[in-house]
């Protein structure tokens, strides 16, 4: 299911996925209902949502954070992620 590459970089080398602040999470599961890519799951934990499939997350998409009422979801910095993608692309180009 997971995307294999993003901008030519293996998806699993790009650390872009939601992080859940469980102090804020109200277990409303809007994130899971919303995300069409099945990034979230509650089965592993039994109760709270967990980021079960981080590599399914669409790089630069932050839509679940916008759907989160208690503002419990955060993402990495975009500029840092872009810099990392560029760096990996350059390394791949040299090879």
């Amino acid at each position: 299911m997971s995307e294999t590459t993003f901008m030519g970089v293996p998806r699993d080398k790009i650390p872009w996925y939601p992080m859940i602040d469980y102090d804020k999470c109200t277990v409303c599961m809007e994130c899971d209902k919303f995300c069409p890519h099945h990034v979230f799951d509650r089965r592993e934990s039994g109760r709270v949502p967990v980021v079960a499939n981080p590599n399914n997350c669409v790089v630069f998409c932050r839509a679940c954070a916008k759907a989160c009422g208690p503002d419990a979801i955060s993402f990495p910095s975009k500029p840092e992620t872009i810099a990392l993608i560029k760096q990996i692309r350059e390394q791949e180009a040299v090879k």
Partner: protein, 281 residues
């Protein structure tokens, strides 16, 4: 067109109290009617006439966006949306934690109303869109099941977040691909970026909403927003009808086009991406 204000009641959160205050002050300042979300939900017929004659200013306290969802369910015409949690973040000032509004909450409510008054009747569009583009005529077509996704063969470049750019004279016109408009289904709101705001490549150029999703417009280019497509704000359905032509979203004066291009793909490469995405669904 007359306006009405639909805000969340948000009685259990400080942000909801701000939303309520924005509705009261905003109604006074703009001469708009207030719609009670609870009554609207319980007895929509009460507001049938108002909804048919007005466009809505929708005010949500938190990202659960109850008022937005209610407006979407009733297919109301929405002119503007306000999300208090975004305004709190933008102000850099956390709200008081009490449900009764303190000085910070009241000041925030007033600043939101002031911003509404300042921008409601000001056109979002810069004088004229700079670029003169002809509608594409030749497409690559990716088929998946019964769906067909069109991709213009020439002039358009794409990022992997399904946004296109078409460049002329240092200005990029930006929109979403046919694949993404079909995936979102009927788009009912374009939250446009402000003209003159600057954006980095892969930064946010506003968002689109449909009954199905909120979609962040990930900018394919870096630069300054010079125009916003007012026709699409008035009628977001244009994006579904003509995503590469009349449904364009914004124009951006390019700041670093040579570098931006390195991270964009042409039509054949984007077609491969669409094929892969469609197959994964």
């Amino acid at each position: 067109m007359k306006r009405a204000i639909l805000s969340c009641n948000g009685l259990d959160k400080p942000e909801g109290s701000v939303a309520r205050e924005v509705a009261i002050r905003g109604a006074d300042a703009t001469g708009s009617e207030i719609i009670c979300p609870v009554l609207l939900n319980r007895a929509p017929a009460r507001y049938k006439k108002v909804l048919s004659e007005t466009s809505l200013i929708v005010v949500d306290g938190c990202s659960t966006r109850c008022a937005t969802k209610l407006a979407a369910r009733l297919e109301a015409k929405v002119e503007r949306k306000v999300l208090v949690t975004d305004a709190v973040k933008a102000s850099g000032q956390p709200l008081e934690s009490t449900l009764s509004l303190g000085p910070k909450g009241l000041a925030l409510a007033q600043s939101i109303v002031d911003e509404l008054l300042r921008t409601l009747d000001a056109p979002a569009v810069a004088a004229e869109p700079v670029a003169e583009f002809e509608t594409p005529t030749e497409y690559l077509v990716v088929t998946h099941d019964k769906f067909e996704f069109r991709i213009p063969v020439v002039d358009y470049v794409f990022n992997e977040n399904d946004i296109w750019a078409r460049v002329l004279d240092g200005v990029a016109r930006v929109g979403i691909s046919d694949y993404m408009q079909q995936k979102l289904t009927d788009i009912n709101y374009f939250d446009a970026p402000r003209v003159d705001s600057t954006v980095e490549q892969f930064g946010e150029l506003g968002s689109l909403e449909s009954a199905k999703a909120v979609f962040e417009i990930v900018s394919p280019v870096s630069g300054a927003v010079t125009a916003v497509n007012q026709a699409v704000i008035d009628n977001p359905g244009l994006i579904n009808e003509d995503p590469y032509g009349a449904g364009w979203l914004v124009e951006v004066k390019l700041a670093a086009w040579p570098q931006d291009q390195e991270l964009l793909v042409d039509a054949p490469a984007y077609a491969e991406i669409v094929k892969r995405k469609a197959a994964e669904e």
